[in-house]
Every structure is written in structure tokens, then in C-alpha cells.
Symmetry: C2
Subunit: 202 residues, 2 copies
């Protein structure tokens, strides 16, 4: 449908990373530079950008700021995105403290936990809230993406709740596949799976 393949989408952040490094310092960048940075073939880069209908200049390269804008627009991150973290355990706390998120345009605007002892405490400048407050916050536009850092057994029910409130981008750190309706995107990051795959190649 949208005509841009998943393989291409997954490379866009890697291009963007180089572009953001270059911004201010270089006017243009070549497909070759992008290829090296992203660890792919230069023809692949040109094909990707051509899929975005983004044009470069022969003999010169691609405009760094324009390409950055184009990719950010494609990814839907022209403006800052508001993210909630669900679960303020070890992992949720670690993720909330990670400043690399803000640097790349993602603001953690809310953190929720079910533990009454944890509620009210602050991580950085965000206060941990009761899970019950989540639906209302979401409705008021406090966030529209969520990072799941809850135990496996809570993952599906929390997901259902998030989806119900209109969140349609979920990054799931719980070690279970959650199911979501059409139109909602989930990506799962699973430590053991990563290590198992690594084990094969290492």
C-alpha cells in the first residue's frame, strides 16, 4: 500500500543518525557515505531514497537538511513525540532515566506503576502515577506511544487498556508476544531472544 518496504523503513533511522551528526557541518552527503554509516550497499541507499521520492543532485549528493526533514516526516517525528512508560520497576526506571530519548525527540511525559509505594516518587522530573490515571492522561493527549516495562503476566491486559485509550505504538519489553488489533503497531525487544541469536553467531 504505502509503497515503502519494511526493509527500507528499518534503515531510515540509521540514515537519520548520520544526517543529524552532519547537520550544520556539511551541506550534502553522498549515497556512499550513507551506505557506510548504515552498513548497507550504496545502491540500496539510492533505491531507498528514490522510494521516498527524494531527489539528490548528480555529481553532488543529497542535501543534508532536506533529507533529514524528509526522513523525519516519513517516520512521523517532525515534532516531538510523547511517550508513557508503563511499569516503574528496574527496567522502567532505567528507561525513564535514559536521556538519549529526549535527544532524539521522544519525551517521557508519564510513568505508571501499580505499586502504591512507588506511586508519588519521581524519576527525573516525572512523577510516578497510579495505573488508574493512565486512561485519562492518555485521553487528554499526555502521550500517544507507550513503552511496556511490566511483568509478562501483565503485558496483555495493559496492552489492551492502552489500545482502548487510543495508543497505537507500543514498544514491548515484556518477554511475551502481545496481540493487538489491526492498525496498532507493536515491537518487541526480548533480551533472551537476542542472546540466543547471538549465541548462534558468536
Amino acid at each position: 500500500m504505502s509503497g515503502i518496504s519494511h526493509a527500507t523503513v528499518s534503515r531510515l533511522p540509521r540514515y537519520l543518525r548520520l544526517l543529524e551528526e552532519l547537520e550544520g557541518a556539511h551541506e550534502t552527503v553522498s549515497s556512499d557515505d550513507l551506505a557506510v554509516a548504515a552498513g548497507v550497499n550504496a545502491a540500496n541507499v539510492r533505491r531507498d531514497l528514490s522510494d521516498l521520492e527524494f531527489q539528490g543532485t548528480r555529481g553532488v549528493g543529497y542535501s543534508v537538511p532536506s533529507l533529514g526533514d524528509r526522513i523525519r516526516r516519513e517516520l512521523g517525528i517532525e515534532s516531538r513525540r510523547l511517550v508513557a512508560i508503563i511499569g516503574a520497576g528496574n527496567l522502567g526506571t532505567a528507561l525513564a532515566r535514559y536521556d538519549g530519548l529526549a535527544k532524539r525527540g521522544f519525551d517521557v511525559t508519564a510513568i505508571y506503576d501499580t505499586d502504591p509505594n512507588r506511586v508519588g516518587q519521581s524519576i527525573g522530573d516525572v512523577q510516578i502515577q497510579r495505573m488508574e490515571d493512565m486512561p485519562m492522561d492518555c485521553k487528554v493527549g499526555c502521550f500517544d506511544m507507550a513503552i511496556l516495562a511490566v511483568p509478562a503476566n501483565a503485558a496483555q491486559s495493559v496492552t489492551d487498556l492502552l489500545v482502548k485509550e487510543g495508543v497505537h505504538s507500543i514498544l514491548n519489553f515484556a518477554p511475551v508476544r502481545v496481540s493487538v488489533p489491526e492498525g496498532v503497531a507493536v515491537r518487541q525487544v526480548d533480551l533472551s531472544t537476542e542472546l540466543q541469536i547471538l549465541s548462534y553467531y558468536g
Copy 2:
């Protein structure tokens, strides 16, 4: 060379997850069940297992324990794997506390940090050690895989050190691509990249 594709390797952990749930309860499993659990096509499952030269029984299915063994063997996780965590900041600590690792055969045997205040403290039953102790620990076989939870600017130098000491499986949580010699496997998990991709689909 080894004849089993990356696409196949990346599905093996998903099959294994179902198999481990089923172990004890069911003797056999069908390609269809595996397919549903892994979110792939049943023909794809059969092709994968056939690539492993693992045979099922027509009309019956695949032996749950044998297939589990076969996949564990292929992934190199028949016996427990020993893992070091480098960096005892928020993320390193969260990962060290995560009990899902031990459950899936990965033992965190060492944690290192450069912060003298952190050294000597314990996470679970593992004491944080000085970075300088890492090479010797590695040589003695204390671990042979590593999880990098250090700042971006330290990632490459720590990687070089790990590689030098013989580690050839590295899971990198630092938001930079590290380069390694042939034969060393690295996988990178990057939060912003995940969110950017999610943003596209969500």
C-alpha cells in the same frame, strides 16, 4: 556456508519458547501450532525444521523434547551460558536484576563498572567489580558473552577490550554501532531506533 539462513535463526527462539511451554505436557507439536506461536506460515516452519535436518512424523507432528534439544544445540545453548554485564548504571542494573535470563539458560556471572563508588556493591548475588578485573575473569572462563550497558563514548573501547580477551558475542545497548573483527557477533538494541520505526507504523 552453514546453510541455515539468518531468517531461520531468528525464528528458532520463537519456536523454542513454545516448545519449552509444552515440555512435559505434550509429546508432539504440529508445524501449524509452531507457526501460530511464532507468527509465521506453517510451510515456513516445516522448511526451517527441514533446514535443521530435523524430521517429524507425518500425520503426527514433531517430538517436543527432541525438537527442543535440536534447536538448543543449533543455537549453542545446550548448557548454560555465562554472561558478563559491562556497566552497572541504571540499565546495567536493571538487566542484572532481570530473572528471565537465568530462566532461559543465561547466568550473569560478573558485572563491571568504572565508578569506584559502585564497585563492591552487589546486584542480586553478584558483586560489581572494577573494569580492570574483566580481562583476567574472562581468561579464567568466568564468561564468554557480554552485554554492553555503557555510555556511547565508551562502547567501542570496551568492545575492543572484550574482543581482545576472547568474547565473541556482544549485545550492545549503547546507542552507537561498534565495529568488531570477523568472527565476532554483535547485536544492537537501540531504544530510539525502535521508537522511530514504531512511529512510522503506529
